[in-house]
Symmetry: C2
Subunit: 696 residues, 2 copies
Amino acid sequence: MLKYFFTPENVCLIGASTNPDKLGFKILKNLIEGGYKGKIFPVNPKADTILNLKSYKNVLEIPEVCELAIIVIPSELVCDVAEECGKKGIKGLIVISAGFKETGPEGRKKEERLKEIVRKYKMRLIGPNCLGVIDTKNKLNASFASEMPLEGKISFITQSGALGTAILDWAVKENVGLSKFISFGNKADVSEIDLIEEFEDDSDTDVILLYLEGVNDGKKFMEVTKRVSSKKPIIVIKSGKTEKGTKTASSHTGSLSGSDTAFNSAIKQSGVIRANTVEELFDYALIFACQPILKGKNIGIITNAGGPAVMAVDMIEEIGLTLAEFSTETTEKLKNFLPSASNISNPVDILGDAQADRYERAIEFVISDDKVDGIIVILTPQVTTQIKETAECIAKTSKKYNKPVITCFMGGKRVEEGIKILKENKIPNYFSPERAIISLKAMYDYWRNLNEKPKGKVIKFKVEKEKVQEKINYFKNQKINTIGDIEGRGILSLYGINVINSFLAKDENECAEFLKENDGVYVMKLVSPDIIHKTEAGGIKLNITNSEEAKRAFLEIINSAKKYKPDVKIIGVQIQPMIKNGVEVIIGINKDIQFGHLIMFGLGGIYVELLKDVSFRLIPITDIDANNMIDEIKTSKILKGFRNIPKMDIEAIKETLLRVSQLILDFPEIKEMDINPLVVKEKGCTAVDVRFSFEF
Amino acid sequence: MLKYFFTPENVCLIGASTNPDKLGFKILKNLIEGGYKGKIFPVNPKADTILNLKSYKNVLEIPEVCELAIIVIPSELVCDVAEECGKKGIKGLIVISAGFKETGPEGRKKEERLKEIVRKYKMRLIGPNCLGVIDTKNKLNASFASEMPLEGKISFITQSGALGTAILDWAVKENVGLSKFISFGNKADVSEIDLIEEFEDDSDTDVILLYLEGVNDGKKFMEVTKRVSSKKPIIVIKSGKTEKGTKTASSHTGSLSGSDTAFNSAIKQSGVIRANTVEELFDYALIFACQPILKGKNIGIITNAGGPAVMAVDMIEEIGLTLAEFSTETTEKLKNFLPSASNISNPVDILGDAQADRYERAIEFVISDDKVDGIIVILTPQVTTQIKETAECIAKTSKKYNKPVITCFMGGKRVEEGIKILKENKIPNYFSPERAIISLKAMYDYWRNLNEKPKGKVIKFKVEKEKVQEKINYFKNQKINTIGDIEGRGILSLYGINVINSFLAKDENECAEFLKENDGVYVMKLVSPDIIHKTEAGGIKLNITNSEEAKRAFLEIINSAKKYKPDVKIIGVQIQPMIKNGVEVIIGINKDIQFGHLIMFGLGGIYVELLKDVSFRLIPITDIDANNMIDEIKTSKILKGFRNIPKMDIEAIKETLLRVSQLILDFPEIKEMDINPLVVKEKGCTAVDVRFSFEF
């Protein structure tokens, strides 16, 4: 679809310059020196030739139709030139020039006009305000990056040109091969989503790396990354995680950075791998691009030093991988050839005097063990350590097995030559054991996500959709944007969610009457649109068992409410049966402007607020998502039978989550919702308090 | 005290060799080539000269008394040679040779004999099984490390020789200067504690770096590090954090690795800085060795790229530093000279085309602002970026202010030359903004710890120590190792801790009698040494208000207990007043074999077990420690007035913590203790259930 950005038949550079200090010169030089095989047409109204190429006054003068135009002229001129490009029949524009949306209202207008022109002529546009595009295989350097990286299988998509320069500079120094590099700037047209789709079936791309500051179309992003990440790993780093961070992101980039919760949920649900730092991004990129996938969590360690191995084991425990237990056969083999002071169980310590041959045999024995899924080889540069030879042995052995082998050659100067050999043989070397282990974990998570069985599915329950539609139409017509308990429970009930029985009493006599006719223990609660925290307003009375108590409770509740808020609007008092021996949980909905509705689950009471022990997913959720949401919270053990609290009906919570998800999917005008609490018992669960708000 | 290990007048090398492959040759070569100015005496029974130095048959033959002997001969011969060294009057031994404790019982015996000899002759010993010692200022390379690092102000002490080689190799490559390097191996004599004390007043040591696998004398370690870290930063990395990690540590090093909780508490209470990875160790070392201390939490950022600045801001928020707010004067100054598209508030984005002069002025304005405590300068290698010149400007400006300046020049090849200049000017450069910020945080924590006012003190309450002594003597004589509620509360009470009133009833009639004479609401609890989880055994009855209920409750409790455990030993049933409207907390004691007693605090109920939301300190604790213990737990907000829960008496908890600390200090034979729950109310707190165990 976007092939002409990477393998164009020919290219014109509008704004080519004879001045070596200008970008228009650098880009032309890069195009030529990169080794691009197609024809290059510089465009410059004043020059005849630039860098020995004939230059044209304008695009229309070029004797051929170009597939790709690179534009690097002042922003005021860009739109007119783009119009010419459209007329000429050019397919793709890369607008390097800055001075658009990122500069304020004036620039934003220019950008809007540019977008219109692009649409009009059915062109596609990368940029403006970007670094350009590189395709190493096709030897196209349509950017002003100084050096072209080696050919490789990683494609890198970056929203920040500045970070792009740093990444290219890193790739060049570390000899990391890239397939494609795209800085998409203001993403006036082509976005990260288009590019991910472009690389979905690109045989030159094994790993997609992404630097993002914000996502425009969250739902599409999720849909595409979900599909593509089932074919190849997508690794993303996004800045703007905390509130202050987000503020900076919007003021800096003109991009609307969404709440990180929604973004995080999106990538979790799509199987995208998140890197937390640039370092992690690189670490992950290396292992995914260089090594076969880790198909289990059992890690073997071979080391010539105890300390670093302990650090690796610490990290394995911490992040949820497993220190492999070797088969007796492997242990025997290790025992038979290693010196007696060695540690023959995992981590295998082959001692400080280990030379390359000892490493080689130990690695061979460990990696061929079926109980080992991947290995890390640790080396410290001791006196007799054969650094180069050991690197060669590792390279040789690793090629025989379809399991990841990574290394941690620790140190600086002496280990350099070993690391060079490792790199040449696509063995990622990590500075510390911890980083090596964390990278393996990313791989394991990716594999597990791909192979999780059964796959989750969105369940469709039989519900009374039309009746809810009627109610919501009514609220809309009446301009009612918030509804409380009574109406709220009505809606939930139509979606098959069990709600508490409730009687609304308008005065103390109705209360007394109700208690006369109904046995049992009751709770009485104020119903008022003005008071949210009922307890604080004295709006709740427990353990009501007879008419006398009910009457008194009614009057006390009304009194307290009036004291709490003199002009309070009171609808009445609800009388509900008291539920005993249940655990209170909360299910909530809120809406993210980029990704849509988020559903939240947590244990109720003060702990939600205090510990923020909640889990989130984007709507719609699958049955597996519902399961994971419950499992993810730290307090979920309470629901599973803990001490003298019996096992609660987790299936009922799951079903409620799924039914809520269906409700929100059917009625996206629901902006927020809280079921707080949903009381779970050994059998079943009941929605007690509910609030909805709408966005019509 | 240990001067002769670093600045010996003269040195002998026992086991010097003519064979270039042997350590005995390498060490001699290192001694000579390192530039050591004193006399060197090689000892080898077979050679006449080695490397142009006259060689001696044995130590006794040497015409002078050496201050330091380096021994690198087979372990079987070491003890005899050490004996000769003692006779000769040598003061310090560095035993490089392996084959001691780390190899098993035989080696352990040899090591014990070696220790005896050292004691007998009042020598001191580093090793055995170590890499040796380096003093860069004195140009002493008494190790077999290949290259000598530059002279600097960091002294590095390592328990692992292997990790030592990696660190030296790193220091050489990165041009990081070290003052001293000591690999102390099996620490048969000189330990990390001796070395830390040695560097306490060493003017050549500004920063002490420590790699540990275990600590032998936890209390001494704490005492010394507390004192020394108030003079200079001590940065420690310890392997063996998780359970599996610890297991590996002991099998590998013969060193008994203590529980990490105790170690972590120890360093927290001593003001030692903990690095979690080798990378962090290096990162911290650089900032402490190169930059003035950060004296506040307000960080300024100057950048030529938005994305990385956002990452820095994210991390600042996450770890509890603050993004500085500039004075209006600074903002004005920035506004006046920066291009209009720049961001003039913090982080200051001086745009992608910023050259060195723009960096310089921006840095100057920001760092001179009193509201800024330290700065980080971020640079991405864009087209017009003057990498070298910018590095020079940073170096120049940073020297004018007594505030830390660190950088994050991102990339690889192009930024190399800039980083080189930064290094030469002692500006630490970090690969990622996150690592830079984390390093600043370590500095801030160190500064805050030093300057925390008021200083905490251990408070001594008036207590009935003698009476507790009597009780404990009795338990000891009776060989009673565990005591429950009734005796336990007796002890607490003598230390001024408020305990619940309790009546022990032997039969149902005593229960009935008690309720007849006492009004109120009571709880009844089984008293049995055999049942720990009383609730599960049906051993607790709540809300007892009259004789009838009390009688019935007694019988039911006894019945349930017998069903739960047929041969249960029953002492009786306690009757206690029910405490309402309190919050349950837990105070516990356990004993670490290396560091002694740990005191724990957490919120009671199932949340302690589920969330592990507890804090630890080593005994004795100060009033500030008690404060921090309460503040540290996530659920502590519940105690401070939360929603409709009133503010609880935190002072009473503090006092209880301090009184428990005093009790344990007075009676170290108390091995474990649990007050669970301690019920806190708006005024006061009450110990309800208590258990003690002793180690006589």
